[in-house]
Each structure stands twice: as C-alpha cells, then as structure tokens.
C-alpha cells in the first residue's frame, strides 16, 4: 500500500530564510512523487515531480526536492522564502501498480513572516 506522511502540519519562516517542508512516503514498488501547492481558495498547482529520473528535482518558483530512497523521503526546500509562498503544500505519491491514483499527504501550511 502507498501512503504519505507530512511531518509538520504548520511551518513558519521569516521572509528571506530557507524553507523545509518534510515528507516521508511508503510504497511497495517504484513511486512517482509530487509536490502540489494550494493558495487560499484556489485550485492545486504542481510545483515539481519525481518519476525515476534525477533524484534532485527542480520545480517552479525556486523550489526543489530530493528523492532519497534509503530514507523514503521527498522533502521540499527553497533557499529563500517569499511572502507569496504562503500557502498549503501537499506531498503526493502515485504508483502504476495502484492505477496511478494520487495519494495525498495531509498538507503543510507554510506561513511567511515579514
């Protein structure tokens, strides 16, 4: 079975400081992993995805994530937070063997202080 655990429900950072949103996954086979962002009252936007190519994945808006199979982690980072990064972030796993359905983590709310 596949599952995702986002280790922090809320993260608060100051503008200009690094962002780290943590995600651990569980999968039986070879997962695809995604990070989506949801701004208040908006839909979901893909930040980045890992699908068995390079383990360090770069996404939009300066975000990146590293797939670490030995740690079953896919943490999301950004060197310098911007006020516009304040949103909810979802780590997502998908596997071909489970019909490619997306399984979402519970989400991490990122707050950026000025």
């Amino acid at each position: 079975a596949q599952s995702v655990t986002q280790l922090d429900s809320h993260v608060s950072v100051s503008e200009g400081t690094p962002v780290l949103l943590r995600c651990n996954y569980s999968s039986s086979y070879s997962p695809s992993l995604f990070w989506y962002v949801q701004h208040p009252n908006k839909g979901l936007q893909l930040l980045l995805k890992y699908t068995s190519a390079a383990t360090l994945v770069k996404g939009i808006n300066g975000f990146e994530a590293e797939f670490k199979k030995s740690e079953t982690s896919f943490h999301l980072t950004k060197p310098s937070a911007h006020m516009s990064d304040a949103a909810e972030y979802f780590c997502v796993v998908s596997e071909l063997e489970y019909g490619n359905k997306l399984v979402f983590g519970a989400g991490t709310i990122l707050r950026v202080k000025s």
Binding site: S32, Q38, G43, E88, N100, K101, L102
Partner: protein, 116 residues
C-alpha cells in the same frame, strides 16, 4: 484559455436534493479524475476515467455517479445529498505517461458544495 474548468464554482443546496458538477478539459488528455477535499483539507481520489472507461472507483457511496460523455468531460452526479457531502470537489486530468505511469495531473479550480 482555461485548461480544466468546473461548473459551478459554488453550490449550496438542501439535504436530499440531487445535483451535478460538470468538468471539462481542453488539454487533449485521456484520463480524468474526481477528488474530494474535506473540511480538514484532506484530499482523496473518488473516481478515475480513461478514455471514457472507469478505472478507479474508491469506496464512494453509490449516491455518487460519474458520467463521461466523451474524453473531454467527466461530470459528477450526486443523489440524495447529505450533510457529510459538503466539501470542495476537484476535477483533474492527465495523459497516461511513459510506461503507463501517470503524467502530471492538472486540477480544476474546485467546486465548493455546501449541503444545508
């Protein structure tokens, strides 16, 4: 141009009513999905259709019936609405990627359903 669109954006209705939410994508994708986001923001897949055929049906009450008239549309009909159906419903679409893996799923803006 909107890639994945949903109508209506907001839907307020009484318990026991029947309602539909429409979804259309103009991306040429062959797979479409419905997700439910509850009040705690937890997102869970409900259905998935590939080329108009149902391929994923999670344990959703049979009051929920998806209908795909063509590859570009996946509508969600809900009978006998209950208070617990209040949520935001998201439609999404994707190509089937290389090796059968799912490609990026593109989400619609969501439909906020409130059942009174």
């Amino acid at each position: 141009d909107t890639a994945v669109s949903q109508t209506p954006k907001y839907l307020v209705t009484q318990m026991g009513n029947d309602k539909s939410i429409k979804c259309e994508q103009n991306l040429g994708h062959d797979t479409m999905y419905w997700y439910k986001q509850d009040s705690k923001k937890f997102l869970k897949i409900m259905f998935s259709y590939n080329n108009k055929e149902l391929i994923i049906n999670e344990t959703v009450p049979n009051r929920f019936s998806p209908k795909s008239p063509d590859k570009a549309h996946l509508n969600l009909h809900i009978n006998s609405l209950e208070l617990g159906d209040s949520a935001v419903y998201f439609c999404a679409s994707s190509h089937k990627g290389a090796g059968g893996r799912t490609d990026t799923q593109y989400f619609g803006p969501g439909t906020r359903l409130t059942v009174l």
